[in-house]
């Protein structure tokens, strides 16, 4: 029987939610300054209204709900689930006021897509949005992307040994540094270094591609935010295809790759221990699965006569695959070409890549290489056990920075999350089919893209899409980003509010 949360539990959750909204108001202040500098008065008003709303909610909670009680694991989970949901609604305020969205739902969809680093977009006339509004969309990627890592790591720092098996399963308990402050500082320094190097590299290649200095800096900054946070919003409707530049594609590809690498591995990389990186179960899983899927993509494209020669295979096929695996979702061809030119095999491989996603503990989405790797190890373990005499002891291990023995609880948790993801992919695809007008390739592609927070689109997600389907994708993005657990915790909490046993 669950305990019914008391008034002070709700107070605690409200208090921390208020802090999140205060943070969100800061996210709106930055583009407001840009709007002020550029004289984009309408956008400035939108940001001021949005920021004022967030800040006043934050101030009220600060004044009325202040408490010194510490967060427990359950409180943390509920706060995280609620902050991503309500955060998307509040983040949608300036978007809605911009007038580029058909209705409020579209604006909330865009807000959720931004915060969950998905990158699916339902904006009208993207190429003519104000610069500050576009900057704000990309900044949502950064806030949500770095945010989820900080949240995950801080929960581990706080949770210690009492964390639920579902999360431990992911072996996410590899805390990078012993304390939370140092960990976040490390993350911030890594992100800042990549920001400087990545933006400079993009700036240079964009200059080379014929952009003026100011425009190159603007596009470079936005592309960096979209790529490194594995988001996928882009300043132009045509995504990366707009630039027609191999240089831009290469730099964006490296940045997407960097974004899909977990911060644990970044730490090993920075400390100059490449052997650990190569032995890591996630690196191996991704290396094997991506190479195999790339072969399938190439075969499918060649078979279908979509492209010939090595260069288009690399520029279209590899880019799209890396975009899918890293869960960034930048496109180098219009979404409809997956349907019209790519045949069936290549899009299927892209769907598989999107389903697997990047590494746990990065901003990437999807099932995560770690769980896929552990599920594969489990399978091998079971087969080995089958072939050995009954009395034999079979021990399987894997590397996550250190050698770890594969335990039953780990295996079970990894496979159950894998199952949850697959069920969600399929459910979303079925809902899409129910609307008629789409075939299974389209609905499965889009459903996987939404749940895994990828952002590649085959053309289903557009401003005039059915509103019910839009709402389903919105929930899928939320579920996928929080990996179900936090959402389940929230649901359990709501149930216990109504039916739980009162505390004595």
């Amino acid at each position: 029987m669950l305990l019914r949360p008391g008034a002070d539990d709700l107070r605690l959750i409200g208090f921390y939610l208020g802090k999140v909204f205060l943070g969100l108001s800061l996210v709106m202040v930055l583009p407001a300054l840009v709007a002020l500098y550029l004289g984009e008065w309408n956008s400035l008003t939108s940001f001021v209204i949005g920021a004022a709303l967030c800040a006043s909610i934050g101030a009220v909670t600060e004044a009325r709900l202040a408490t010194r009680r510490a967060l427990t694991w359950a409180h943390g989970m509920v706060t995280v689930a609620l902050s991503w949901l309500l955060g998307a609604v509040l983040a949608a305020v300036p978007l809605h006021l911009s007038g580029h969205y058909d209705d409020l739902l579209s604006a909330v969809f865009e807000g959720m897509s931004g915060l969950t680093t998905t990158g699916l977009s339902v904006i009208n006339d993207l190429d003519h949005t104000t610069l500050s509004m576009d900057f704000y969309r990309h900044l949502l990627h950064f806030a949500g992307g770095q945010g989820i890592i900080i949240v995950v790591l801080s929960l581990f720092a706080a949770g210690g040994g009492s964390i639920g098996t579902l999360y431990i399963s992911e072996a996410r308990d590899e805390r990078i540094l012993p304390n939370f402050i140092r960990t976040s500082r490390f993350i911030f320094r890594v992100a800042a270094t990549y920001a400087v190097i990545g933006t400079t590299a993009l700036y240079l290649v964009l200059l080379g591609a014929g952009f003026g200095p100011a425009r190159a800096l603007y596009h470079g900054t936005l592309l960096f935010l979209g790529a490194f946070d594995t988001g996928g919003f882009s300043p132009m409707q045509a995504s990366v295809a707009y630039y027609h530049s191999a240089g831009v594609e290469v730099v964006v590809m490296v940045l997407m790759l960097a974004g899909a690498i977990s911060f644990g591995l970044h730490f090993q990389l920075w400390r100059g221990d490449p052997r650990q990186v190569l032995r890591h179960i996630e690196t191996r899983t991704l290396a094997i699965s991506t190479s195999a899927l790339f072969a399938v993509v190439c075969f499918g494209l060649l078979r279908n006569g979509a492209y010939d020669g090595t260069e288009p295979l690399l520029r279209k096929g590899l880019f799209t695959l890396v975009s899918a695996v890293s869960s960034a979702g930048y496109q180098v061809n219009p979404g409809t070409t997956y349907l019209s030119d790519w045949g069936v095999l290549a899009p299927a491989a892209i769907v598989a890549a999107m389903a697997i996603g990047g590494m746990a503990g990065s901003t990437a989405g999807g099932i995560k290489a770690l769980r896929v790797g552990i599920a594969a190890k489990t399978l091998i373990h079971d087969v080995k056990k089958l072939l050995q005499p009954e009395s034999a002891l079979v021990v399987t291990s894997y590397h996550v920075g250190k050698r770890q023995i594969l335990r039953d609880s780990t295996a079970r948790a990894a496979t159950s999350l894998l199952l949850l993801f697959i069920v969600t992919y399929l459910l979303g695809a079925v809902v899409g089919l129910a609307y008629g007008g789409y075939d299974i390739t389209q609905t499965l592609f889009e459903s996987v893209s939404a749940t895994s927070n990828i952002g590649l689109s085959i053309g289903v997600t557009e401003p005039s899409m059915p509103r019910g389907l839009m709402a389903v994708y919105l929930v899928q993005m939320w579920l996928g980003r929080l990996e179900f657990v936090a959402v389940f915790a929230l649901l359990g909490y709501l149930v216990s509010l109504g039916r739980g046993r009162a505390k004595t």
Partner: protein, 43 residues
């Protein structure tokens, strides 16, 4: 420098970025190999 000792940040950053670029180069080389072989076989 003893193992585990704190390196200066710039040193770490350069090392990290270099290793990442190496990793990316590795991905590109493997991909180019796969693409070339397949386009020879199928195309």
């Amino acid at each position: 420098m003893p193992r585990g000792a704190d390196r200066p940040f710039v040193h770490e950053a350069v090392l990290g970025v270099a290793l990442l670029l190496g990793l990316a180069l590795g991905v590109a080389v493997v991909a180019a190999l796969i693409a070339t072989v397949l386009s020879l076989l199928v195309g």
